[in-house]
């Protein structure tokens, strides 16, 4: 049903669409906010852990740096003996657990003017500190990194970590500090003091750092060499740059570059290790230009909020379905009475007026509508009954009127030619009644053998009274004509009879002619009727108007009789104002002039043709406009005088 579809579906879809929008917006907002919070938290967490790692590493290696730096200061004393210097190197090895070896390497001929190499080197071997002198033709230490870098840079340097193969296969890095001596007031580079530091603990420490489920930490040297990475193959074998080159990852290359120059960042990228979307954090350590990297999978970071989002989504979907069901239910409940009402209305519209309209207790709009609708139904029933009665009544009246009309028309002579044996004249008449019963009349009859009476009339009113008036007039005229064959006298007597008791002043216009067939002499009388048209050899024109009053309204009037002499061939055309006052759709009148023009001057036409032409002309002129008055035309042609 249309109403159900439209209201329920519209309401439900509107509510649900709205809820869907709200729920979706809330869902995505809360998800994005929580995600941001969690990611921020992950970044803070990374920073905190990295800070801690940095602190732990720094606190482990800074003291060692300090020891070596202090030794470098001590070595500026030019009076230290070779033995004392050797002892110093031996002492720091002995006293520092993390220092595996230590060398004090002088510039060529720096200690003794006759000795190219002087570089006592103390190292641990089986828990005992031993000392040897570095420097030989095979080991020209002046050219090695641990010597050259601090000399050239003029500052302490951590060398690239390396595996010590001589000392016990441990990861080491050498911290080299340049020392200077004063020669003739100028500080001159004198050599470097080094400490070989074990990085074993460092790798273990970094490897133990865990972030989320599978996150890990990595350590990079100042040149980007992997000092620690869960993938052991990379450690000390590859730099971040070589990896970036191999996997063609320019972003990784940039990250490496930023990291070794002391940069720090928290970024999102795909791990080159396992291809998972991950978060990466890196920051420099304060030791050796090293950097620490953290990498942890994004999904692990977002695991909880993803779970939360899924659950929220589930709750939302369930809520949404519940809401939909509730709205459908409620809407149906609200529209149920409307649907019932609509069904009742449909039945009523199909014509079943006795349909029971559902009653509603409520006084809301729907209740009011139902009440109004019942009232409408009641009123409709009442009116239809009334209308049915009225229609029946009207049909009866109309039927009676139709019969009356038929009777009225039947009293007019309709048979043509009426007197086929009389060759002296031809006569033809037609009446086209208007829709409403009217009062036009015509008649013709012989008064005696030689005198032929013809007449036309128009009763002023319409309807049954006019029809009666017309019938009475026609009867009176015939009676009076036979008593006294003089039009003036006929009119006077008919007028008096009609005027008697005629309170409503109904009247009739009449034209009467009495043609003496022996002579063509015609007596005429006119009671306010349109002057007839005479068509003869002189042309066509209206008869002179006698200006005598219309008949039937007021008694005691005088009517005169005048005479027209007709010669054979002359034709008289009588008509009512239904012809000359016929209107077209623009309310233009057919007019006297048009009538004259239509009749024309041609003599040898039968009355039937003339009447038919006028009727057709009026019909064409009206062009479908409603006919408001009876149209009546009577035409008489005088052919010849009687021979007797």
């Amino acid at each position: 049903m249309a109403i159900r579809n439209s209201i329920t579906v519209k309401a439900v879809s509107l509510f649900l669409l709205l809820s869907l929008v709200i729920v979706t917006v809330v869902h995505f907002y809360s998800f994005s906010v929580s995600r941001k919070i969690v990611v921020d938290l992950a970044e803070k967490n990374s920073r905190a852990i990295a800070g801690n790692v940095s602190y732990r590493i720094t606190s482990k290696f800074k003291p060692i740096e300090t020891v070596v730096l202090n030794l470098a200061i001590a070595l500026e004393n030019p009076h230290l003996s070779a033995e004392a210097i050797t002892n110093l190197s031996k002492m720091i090895v002995t006293r520092n657990e993390n220092i595996f070896g230590s060398a004090v390497a002088f510039e060529p001929y720096g200690m003794f003017s006759d000795q190219l190499y002087f570089s006592p080197y103390s190292f641990k071997k089986d828990g005992v500190a031993l000392t040897k002198n570095l420097g030989s033709v095979d080991y020209r230490y002046f050219h090695l990194d641990w010597y050259q870098l601090p000399k050239q840079l003029g500052k302490p340097v951590w060398t690239e970590p390396y595996f010590d193969t001589g000392g016990g296969d441990i990861l080491m890095s050498t911290f080299s500090v340049p020392f200077y001596r004063e020669v003739e007031g100028v500080k001159v580079f004198a050599g470097v003091v080094t400490a070989d530091i074990s990085l074993v603990g460092l790798q273990d420490y970094v490897s133990e750092i865990r972030l989320y489920d599978s996150g890990y930490a990595a350590l990079l040297s100042g040149n980007g060499l992997f000092l620690y990475h869960p993938n052991g193959e990379l450690v000390l074998n590859e730099t971040i740059f070589s990896v970036a080159e191999r996997i063609e990852d320019s972003e990784l290359w940039e990250i490496g570059r930023d990291a070794i120059t002391g940069g720090s960042d928290f970024i999102e990228r795909i791990s080159f290790r396992d291809g998972r979307q991950s978060f990466m954090y890196y920051r420099p350590l304060e030791i050796g230009g090293w950097s620490v990297f953290f990498l942890f999978p994004k999904e692990e970071v977002l695991k909880e909020i993803t779970t939360m989002a899924r659950r929220t989504l589930g709750i939302n979907i369930i809520g949404f379905i519940a809401l939909a069901l509730a709205i459908i239910g409620l809407t149906k409940r609200f529209t149920r009475p409307l649907i019932n009402l609509s069904q009742s209305a449909n039945k009523i519209s199909e014509g079943n007026l006795d349909t029971v309209i559902p009653t509603l207790e409520s006084t809301d709009e729907l209740g009011q509508l139902t009440v109004a609708f019942s009232e409408m139904q009641r009123s409709l029933k009442h009116h239809i009954k009334e209308l049915t009665d009225t229609t029946a009544h009207r049909e009866r009246i109309e039927s009676e009127l139709r019969i009356a009309r038929n009777i009225q028309m039947s009293i007019l002579p309709k048979l043509f030619p009426p007197f086929p044996e009389r060759k002296e004249f031809d006569i033809y008449a037609m009446i086209r009644p208007a829709r409403e019963i009217g009062g036009d009349l015509y008649d013709f009859f012989f008064i005696d053998k030689h005198r032929f009476c013809f007449l036309i009339g128009d009763v002023s009113d319409k309807g049954v009274p006019a029809a009666f008036f017309m019938a009475v007039t026609k009867t009176l005229l015939k009676v009076m004509a036979e008593q006294e064959p003089d039009p003036g006298a006929i009119l006077m007597r008919v007028n008096d009879d009609l005027a008697e008791g005629n309170e409503s002043c109904m009247f009739v216009t009449l034209f009467i002619g009495i043609l003496d067939l022996r002579t063509g002499s015609t007596l005429v009388g006119n009671a306010g009727h349109n002057p007839p048209v005479l068509l003869n050899r002189d042309g066509v024109d209206f008869l002179p108007c006698l200006n005598e009053p219309l008949a039937g309204a007021i008694g005691d009037l005088t009517y005169t009789t005048s005479t027209i002499e007709l010669v054979p061939g002359d034709t008289l055309i009588l008509y009512t104002d239904g012809v000359t006052e016929a209107m077209d759709n623009e309310k233009n009148l057919y007019s006297d002039e048009r009538l004259i023009e239509q009749i024309g001057t041609e003599l040898d036409r039968h009355p039937e043709q003339i009447v038919g032409d006028i009727e057709q002309s009026v019909h064409d002129f009206a062009a479908g406009a409603e006919q408001s008055d009876d149209i009546t035309v009577l035409c008489l042609r005088f052919n010849e005088t009687s021979h007797e």
């Binding site: 009113d461 002043c505 109904m506 216009t509 306010g528 200006n547 009053p549 009037l557």
Partner: protein, 108 residues
Amino acid sequence: MEFVHKQQGQYHVLGATGRLDVATASHFEKEITACFAEGQTNVVIDMSGVEYISSAGLRGILVAAKGAKARSGEIRFCCLSGMVSEIFKISGFGKMFEIFDSIEDAVS
């Protein structure tokens, strides 16, 4: 229709304007009858503003005239124009009523 009443000497002049047809005839008739009911005996109807008259209009005039006659009153018409004049002529009203060309002629 619209009507204007004025008194000129012993004549009551009723100026009528509009179409005198089946819709207005009874109004017209009542307007005239009312004049006689108020005691007027000589009423002049100025038809200069009447542009059309139908048979119902004629009948209204006849009813009013009959009423006037019963009260020994008289109705005169003046200032007929065009079609109205023609109708008056054909219907013989000229022989039933006194018709004048102007108000002055009618009231003198």
